[in-house]
């Protein structure tokens, strides 16, 4: 099958247009906030727009057919193209003068990781900060289409499972109904963002901070406009509770949100992944909150903990907040768990591998994969006793095809392998072992805060340049469910037979 390069480039041109348009919005915000960089912002936006127009005109005579292979390229390189063009506002305004740093920050934005190299966030012009949050938000939008409509078609890591509305994986062409489904889910995404902005604003956050944090929450990113992240509002529990609610929603399959708005609650209550996701959050919160309340040495951390609603509530809130921040891979910081107790360090490190629900904007392995693997592992015992029996794994009362279980097993193993190789590479830069495994798990899972020297109160600016590129690479493959990017590196992809 011949790759349809014209169509692919045409698609990239569309992405440029898209990106440039968003940059102009950021320029407008910059103009309103009078931060003095609006001309630079507008310039970068126009440059990207022009690039888009040129690309699209040059590839006007394309055939409108995308094969599966084209789909892999569009998804993997699309993210890269967005990240490359997205560095312009940082570079032109000189908020982040070095290309490596700017690329890292943009990749961290589009992959909704939320790891930053900015040492003093509050000193950065507001228009640039808005652009930074916007990269999260755009990335989140991309992920929704990817998870709901594209990955199921490509048949990656068992993603067919929750593709409730996507057609079966038998078709070789990308389906036009993708736009329908995606539009509905985007509407919910936009609606949630607006709702959170309004609520945060009402709860006492400035409008600018509210909209930035909303975009960051819904995309499960984690960029904040404050140096202290959400810990800045430790004295205002209401604000943190609002963020908690929306982190939970952002980590839930957006298709379920759609059912919620249609009033179909039985569908939500019966969804096995949602049930397990909710149970995970509940159990882990109880553990974290109890440890924080009874064991943790709160004074050991540099973060301020005003317990305005009492110590019990404070422990519960920080437990819940941090569990959600890590499980949904948002990576907001309300507390520094690495300083509280050694148990919590290992505990939260483990949670980095959980991931939110499939079909959400969260990264990581995803609850549904854990669910299938746990069920399959449990059924292996039964299979051992009945070697001739046919015992399928069931998900939402439907038997799962054995191939999908294999896909998921393959995904899990590849994920773990990527984590180990990732940590090994980091340790080659003389990074200590705790920081290295933290960086690897956090980058791969698109979480944000890592461990050790790169924990919740630190950032990634101290990383050597090459390590930054490596971290950005891990973010990209983690975000695109490993296979999408890694398949481009296999000989099978490029062979003609």
């Amino acid at each position: 099958m011949k790759l349809n390069y014209k169509m692919i480039w045409h698609f990239f041109g569309l992405l440029f247009l898209f990106n440039g348009g968003f940059m102009l919005i950021a320029a407008l915000v910059s103009f309103i906030c009078k931060d003095g960089v609006s001309v630079d912002m507008a310039l970068s936006g126009l440059m990207v727009l022009l690039l888009g127009v040129v690309t699209m005109v040059a590839t006007k005579n394309h055939t409108k057919e995308l094969s599966k292979k084209d789909g892999y390229i569009v998804v993997a390189l699309g993210w890269l193209i967005m990240s490359l063009s997205g560095t312009l506002p940082y570079l032109i305004t000189e908020s982040i003068p070095r290309f490596t740093d700017a690329f890292f920050e943009t990749m961290s934005g589009y992959t909704t990781t939320g790891a930053s190299i900015l040492n003093d966030i509050e000193a950065v012009p507001k228009g640039v900060l808005f652009w930074r949050s916007l990269t999260h938000w755009i990335g989140g939008m991309g992920i929704i289409v990817l998870a709901v409509a594209i990955l199921p078609l490509l048949g990656i890591g068992g993603m067919q499972l929750f593709a409730a509305e996507a057609p079966g994986p038998d078709s070789d062409k990308l389906h036009p109904r993708i736009t329908d489904t995606a539009k509905r889910l985007w509407l919910i995404y936009v609606g949630y963002t607006a709702a959170e902005t309004l609520l945060l604003n009402l709860a006492g956050m400035s409008f600018f901070d509210a909209i930035n944090h909303s975009m960051s929450t819904l995309s499960t990113g984690g960029f904040s406009t404050k140096n202290g992240s959400l810990a800045h509002w430790n004295g205002q529990p209401l604000i943190q509770y609002i963020v908690i609610v929306f982190m939970f929603l952002a980590g839930t399959n957006f298709v379920l949100s759609y059912y919620m708005f249609k009033g179909n609650f039985t569908r939500i209550v019966k969804d096995e992944e949602f049930k397990l996701y909710a149970k995970f959050i509940l159990v882990f919160t109880v553990i974290a909150a109890s440890v924080v309340y009874y064991v943790a040495d709160i004074d050991a951390s540099s973060i301020n903990y005003p317990m305005s609603w009492g110590p019990g509530e404070s422990a519960l809130r920080h437990g819940l907040f941090q569990v959600l921040a890590i499980v949904t891979t948002t990576g907001f910081v309300s507390a520094d768990f690495t300083m509280w107790s050694p148990f919590l360090v290992v505990f939260f490190f483990g949670l980095m591998f959980l991931g939110g629900s499939a079909g959400s904007t969260a990264g990581g392995i995803k609850v549904v994969r854990h669910l299938v693997l746990i069920k399959n592992g449990f059924l292996e015992f039964k299979r051992a006793l009945h070697p001739n029996a046919i015992i399928p794994v069931r998900y939402n009362n439907k038997a799962i095809d054995g191939n999908i279980v294999f896909n998921i097993l393959g995904f899990f193993i590849l994920y773990m392998l990527s984590f180990i190789i990732g940590a090994l590479v980091f340790s080659m830069f003389n990074i200590d072992y705790e920081s290295a495994i933290g960086l690897s798990a956090s980058s791969l899972g698109n979480v944000g805060p890592a461990l050790g020297d790169f924990g919740p109160v630190n950032n990634y600016s101290a990383l050597p340049d090459l390590a930054k590129w490596w971290s950005a690479f891990l973010m990209l493959i983690g975000r695109l469910e490993l296979f999408t990017v890694l398949v481009l590196l296999t000989p099978f992809f490029w062979k003609k037979v």
Binding site: H386, P387, N388, A389, I390, I391, P392, R394, N397, K398, A399
Partner: protein, 449 residues
């Protein structure tokens, strides 16, 4: 009554045989000449060679004057089409044999009567219900319910420790007065003919005895028959066809743990997907190692319903030798069916016989409310409604001139089953269940008309 039967297979032939005893006017249609020759030389019926869906053939069978058209070919679609055509061409009533049991469970929604089919019969559906009924009364080999269980026919093989072995019917009745059951037919071990018991008939070890019981009688019978009672919980089903899958589904919906063995891997995978509570095993049921591995010794019941009668019989024997309490085999071959008594399998199921009986019961709606042929015996059970003009009305049973080869099993009065003995007076409106040898059925019928 003029009846046209399409399909001279085993169901059609058996049905024609049952009906020809009644001296009905029967026409049999089939495409296969050999089947027809066999039928016409063995039975007193008219045969027509042709396609049941051909208008010319139906007209040749004088469909416009017929009372009943029965489509029992092996093809569901032919039966449905032929029944619809027959109705349009003037048949008063139509019955179609189907294999898709969905048509029966969704009957209310589909409304088959609207386009001309009065009754649907699914042998698979009947077989599956029969299996479930037999499991509920697993101590017995056969059972048949009248009026939703007011009276129940049960058949039992006497073991040595049964309390009444060696006694005559009269002696047994003296030892156990106030009982809720009465013997109505006996088949001696190793013989093929049926005895209608009288007071001086003795019970012998190995006899297959048919009892008529009223409510509560089945438990008394179990205690007296010396059968150890234990609940049936674990069931192994061999064969995942229509009957197997339907039985498995119904059984695990109630209270049983079900294991199903299917040889075809694709079928097994499909079954595993649709039946979440059934443990589906992919393998050959004739493989004794597989059965051992799947713990056949711990099973309470073994039901073999594959397509092959031989496989079913052999695997049931294997299961029996492993100590399975209740074994059932689906047997298509009528010759095997007659041997069931000596084979040692607890119950044999023949779906064609079930279908024929079910259709026969439909035809005899009238004075005869229900009837069944006792499996592999020459006797039939009939249920009559007594009219004020019936010869038998307002008489004591001992005063009625009842043929020696027939016996009154019980009476249902106002929905309650009564074991009727000599000093019972029959009234108008009673439903009387009679067991009769084939030769005296017509004699018995005159008593009730």
């Amino acid at each position: 009554m003029k009846i046209i039967i399409a399909g001279a297979g085993e169901v059609g032939f058996h049905l024609a045989k049952l009906l020809s005893y009644e001296s009905q006017e029967i026409t049999l249609i089939d495409c296969d000449k050999e089947n027809l020759t066999y039928a016409s030389t063995h039975l007193d019926i008219r045969v027509i060679k042709g396609d049941a869906t051909s208008i010319a053939t139906l007209k040749e069978a004088r469909i416009n004057t017929s009372d009943l058209f029965i489509g029992v070919t092996s093809s569901e679609t032919i039966n449905i089409t032929a029944s619809v055509l027959a109705k349009q061409l003037g048949a008063k009533q139509t019955i179609a044999r189907i294999s898709n049991s969905e048509f029966i469970t969704e009957q209310a929604e589909l409304g088959f009567t609207k386009f001309g089919i009065d009754e649907l019969i699914s042998p698979e559906f009947l077989a599956s219900s029969e299996i479930q009924l037999l499991l509920e009364q697993y101590a017995f080999n056969d059972s048949y319910e009248f009026e939703d269980g007011a009276l129940t026919m049960l058949s039992l093989k006497l073991s040595r420790n049964a309390a009444f072995v060696g006694k005559t019917v009269k002696e047994a009745a003296e030892v156990f007065p106030e009982l809720h059951f009465v013997p109505i037919a006996i088949q001696r071990y190793g013989t093929q003919y049926t005895i209608i018991p009288r007071g001086n008939t003795p019970f012998l070890e190995g006899d297959k005895v048919i009892f008529m019981t009223s409510k509560g009688g089945d438990e008394e019978l179990i205690t007296l028959s010396g059968k150890s009672v234990g609940d049936i919980k674990n069931i192994m089903i061999l064969g995942g066809g229509n009957i197997g899958s339907k039985t498995a589904k119904d059984l695990c919906d109630t209270k049983f743990d079900v294991k199903l063995i299917e040889e075809d891997r694709k079928v097994a995978v499909d079954l595993a997907e649709t039946l979440p509570n059934v443990l589906v095993i992919n393998g050959d049921g004739r493989n004794s190692e597989l059965l051992e591995e799947e713990n056949i010794r711990e099973m309470d019941a073994f039901i073999a319903v594959t397509k092959s009668s031989e496989t079913n019989i052999m695997s049931c024997l294997m299961a029996k030798s492993c100590g399975v309490k209740k074994t059932m085999a689906l047997v298509e071959n009528m010759d095997y069916f007659k041997l069931s008594h000596s084979i040692g399998i607890d119950s044999l199921i023949n779906k064609k016989l079930l279908a024929a009986n079910s259709i026969f019961r439909y035809i005899r709606k009238g004075d005869v409310v229900a009837m069944t042929k006792l499996s592999n015996m020459n006797a039939e059970l009939l249920e009559f409604i007594v009219h004020s003009k019936s010869k038998i009305c307002n008489k004591y049973i001992k005063d009625v001139d009842f043929p020696a080869s027939a016996i009154i099993g019980g009476v249902i009065r106002n929905g309650e089953g009564i074991i009727a003995l000599g000093d019972f007076k029959i009234q108008s409106g009673d439903r009387v269940v009679v067991c009769s040898l084939l030769k005296t059925i017509s004699k018995v019928e005159t008593l009730f008309n």
